[in-house]
Amino acid sequence: MPPLAGQRDADAAATEASLIARAQAGDVSAFERLSSAHADRLFMLLLRLLGDRTEAEDVAQEVMLRAWRGISRFRGNSSYFTWLYRIAVNEANRALEKRGRRPPGRPIGADELQLPGSAADDPSRQAETSELRRALAQALAELPPPLRTAIVLRDVEGLSTQEAAEIAGIGQAAFKSRLHQARLRVRAAIGDEALVTSGG
């Protein structure tokens, strides 16, 4: 009989705790195993925040190096995923600050982004969803980094407000304020009619 979901969760938590302990003792392979479970999702986050694949690859390496150097200070007050994501957001913001002093790279193209399946699979709406993709990609790219971080963590990643605020390093009230500002700006950039027609 396969293990129950609760048992699997407990096993996964025990495995993660074991890997953290080994990594904190200096075991590189344990650190890689621990972090690789989150690597794809973390890289996607960096792509969304930075909008540039080459830069995201560079920052992803830096995130892992900083996590490795800081693993002995991880106390388990948050999940390892939350801790790693917070490093990623900090490093992405650092990269965006540096970028402010040089020309921006090519943003991720709208065609590279995916929309919900129900819209994307309907041929009659492909032109509209393609236009919405382009507009959303552009609107997100033009948001100030703190607002972009809020909408990416909460709406794209689907994290809870509490977890997203913790990753962003701010209180929940401040996070909600940023999220609402971000949504208002994106809504204004795209327009109500376009959103309802293409995304509804």
């Binding site: 690789s36 890289f43 892992m64 190096l65 009619e193 995304g199």
Partner: protein
């Protein structure tokens, strides 16, 4: 009951809170009441729902995987790159 003169501006500013379910019952009733008679705010509610749905569905670059090089700097640093070793 007649609406307040600032209902429209207030409603427009709180559409995101509305779809998030964060408004207190009294505030929610205020927005509901205004949106019943305001075409712009009725459309705004539907647009905000559509926005959250569309943004939530943004998958990022299709099939993006972490690069194989993601641990290169960690490997280069090796055990000596971790604080526990540095402090030893």
């Amino acid at each position: 009951m007649p609406g307040r003169s600032d209902d429209h501006q207030w409603s427009q500013q709180h559409l995101s809170h509305y779809v998030e379910g964060e408004l207190r019952p009294r505030a929610r009733r205020r927005l509901d009441r205004h949106a019943r008679d305001c075409v712009d705010c009725g459309l705004g509610i539907r647009a905000m729902h559509a926005l959250v749905y569309a943004v939530h569905g943004l998958g990022g670059p299709a099939g993006a995987r972490a690069p194989a090089t993601i641990f290169d700097r960690v490997r280069l640093a090796g055990p000596g790159g971790s604080p526990s070793s540095q402090n030893a």
